[in-house]
Symmetry: C2
Subunit: 373 residues, 2 copies
């Protein structure tokens, strides 16, 4: 092994204490040494995705966060504590993905020394991260850590949505909260693959943003004619699959009703049970934590379910998953580019006002952590 | 062809008029003559299932029904009219299943003449019904029409639920509104097949009824400890599949939360995304027409969807479907026996007070129509 690593290293942790406090900390840990097939990555960039905030905060309300020395403490409400009871006593590390420089390597991994790599796998909100050499995605020459930091979660989620569509026999997509970083990627990938896409956004300026990217079907749920717009777009695309990042409220129900209206319009006979075309809404996000309300005015052939990207990659198998990763690498500066509103240090993320801002879920607010700061 | 059929015959119809009225009528039609492979059945018994009322009434409120001569008219509220707009101008016949005597037969179907048969297929609320000989289920000697009238919908729904469980890899069931005729059958069939079953009922006397049938797990949603009872029963049975006849409200959500609690208790590690065990609730009834409310406090691996029996029979194929029908025939007087609170004529069903009583959905209230009265 060869190494230029310091002895001690910072690692962000989130712990739910028996007292009912969520304690966020930067723990000082011994810098790990790579085994023969491992490398040590000095993390240079790691994005703040909604899924990372989910692990960091659980059901805690960042508005209640306060500093206690170097730590940030958030007392949980009784309801939040009950919802998080399975976390009690667990100390979780944070950060699904990131990129950085290989500064130490085991004997079988020396070819990676000095290379910039991206990694998916948790615990990236840290100064250093040990990884199997085989798990590292070597970034092409000329790719910065910031460009490679988000090479997994959003790009592979977008591609896994499209793979799900194909696996389950659909031919078009509906996507909500479509002006998100992920939604913008989906617009570009669907354009490349000629997949009809209905984009549902919540504000006029988001509709403009997507139209500026070339999106054909954009429905603004704040507009008075939204339901008619949605039905027209769903009918025009014949979409029978939706991915919903919102979760709460009636948007899933509205989408299913639009799909059913289009499906019954394609029927020649009448059935009180509605159409038999398979209609599916997958909920993959929680922008609205309230209950999902289904009016069930969409026949009897429908499904609403949770959805995660990793099980789809498992289902596709390693060969197809590798093809998807190669597609991402080739598009890191174009289709799969992420855009950040601000770069911060590890410590800054734990400041109560930064936590609060990061959970505001406004489109365009996206933080990148640089642990070398 | 040989026949003892009268020239004219009564047929119940439900029509949504352009004026926004649902008109229920007994139309006088020409008695149809069987083709070579057909028979004419004189219907002697046909049950009033919730699914029949769904076709008869759509979203109309029977409390608003009034007689106009021989017809019953229900003015639809604007909301109901909108919900039923696809029915506009359609005249529907009613009655999914029934039994009766073959009184005329085509040349290739003469062996059925004089036999008592059961039939599934719509239009059974009539004095006579034409059918393909091949679609008739010949009832065993000594079976009355009343005993054979409900040989399809409830029995095959129960068996299709169990087949769905096996097809989709589950090993136990949760069932709501479990004291219904169908629910009582499910208790008996699950006992025969040694399938763990969690019965959810809404009143103490319903719990008693099911315990009297030998049901092991009965949870009364009107009891203060219901949620704990449900969680304990779901954990004890390891059920990950539920069939819900209620539809509205939070029962599907509660069941998924109970399944998730049991699944995470079986996990050795912690994940913010919850367990990866597949958890499914199928909604097959509409006892509560209100929205389905999902709290999504059950991880990311879950599905809620509509469910109907016929697509499952299609999926199983004709050979397995025939086996299921034979099992029903063998159990018509025992496991698959239906119980009726009252026998009525075709005309009586259209009386406003009978319509209202039939939709009251109280367990034990079940009507049998005898069109020969």
């Amino acid at each position: 092994m060869s190494s230029s690593a310091p002895d001690r290293s910072l690692q962000m942790t989130s712990t739910l204490t028996a007292a009912g406090d969520l304690v966020l900390d930067l723990a000082t840990v011994q810098t790990p040494a790579p085994g023969p097939d491992e490398v040590l990555i000095q993390i240079e960039a790691t994005p703040v995705n909604p899924s990372d905030l989910g692990v960091l905060l659980g059901p805690a309300d960042p508005a209640r966060a306060r500093r206690e020395g170097a730590r940030t403490v958030i007392p949980l409400s009784p309801a939040a504590l009950k919802a998080a009871s399975r976390r009690l006593g667990h100390t979780l590390t944070i950060g699904n993905e990131g990129a950085g420089l290989v500064i130490a390597a085991g004997d079988q991994a020396r070819d990676l020394l000095g290379r910039r790599v991206a990694l998916l796998g948790g615990g990236m909100y840290a100064q250093h991260r040990l990884a199997k050499a085989a798990d590292c995605l070597v970034l092409p020459e000329g790719t910065t850590a910031a460009e490679g930091a988000a090479a997994f979660v959003n790009p592979l989620t977008v591609l896994a949505m499209i793979e799900t569509m194909r696996l389950e026999g659909h031919t078009a997509l509906v996507h909500t909260a479509a002006a998100s970083n992920l939604g913008q990627m989906l617009v570009k990938v669907c354009a490349e693959d000629q997949i009809p896409l209905v984009n549902v956004v919540r504000r006029p300026e988001q509709a403009e943003l997507l139209r500026g990217l070339g999106a054909e079907h954009v429905c603004d749920s704040s507009a008075p004619g939204f339901d008619d717009d949605l039905r027209a777009a769903v009918a025009a695309t014949a979409a029978t699959l939706a991915f919903d990042a919102i979760g709460g409220g009636r948007i899933a129900s509205q989408i299913l009703a639009a799909m059913e209206a289009a499906a019954t319009a394609r029927m020649t006979d009448f059935s009180v049970y509605g159409s038999i075309e398979r209609k599916q809404v997958y909920i993959y996000g929680v922008l609205d934590t309230g209950p999902t309300e289904l009016l069930r005015n969409f026949g009897m052939t429908w499904n609403v379910g949770g959805w995660l990207m990793p099980p789809i990659l498992m289902r596709l198998g390693p060969e197809r998953a590798a093809q998807l990763r190669q597609r991402v690498l080739a598009g890191l500066k174009t289709v799969f580019a992420s855009h950040y509103s601000r770069e911060i240090s590890l410590a800054e993320l734990l400041e109560p006002e930064v936590l609060l801002a990061s959970t505001r879920k406004a489109t365009g607010e996206k933080l990148l952590i640089n642990p070398t700061r």
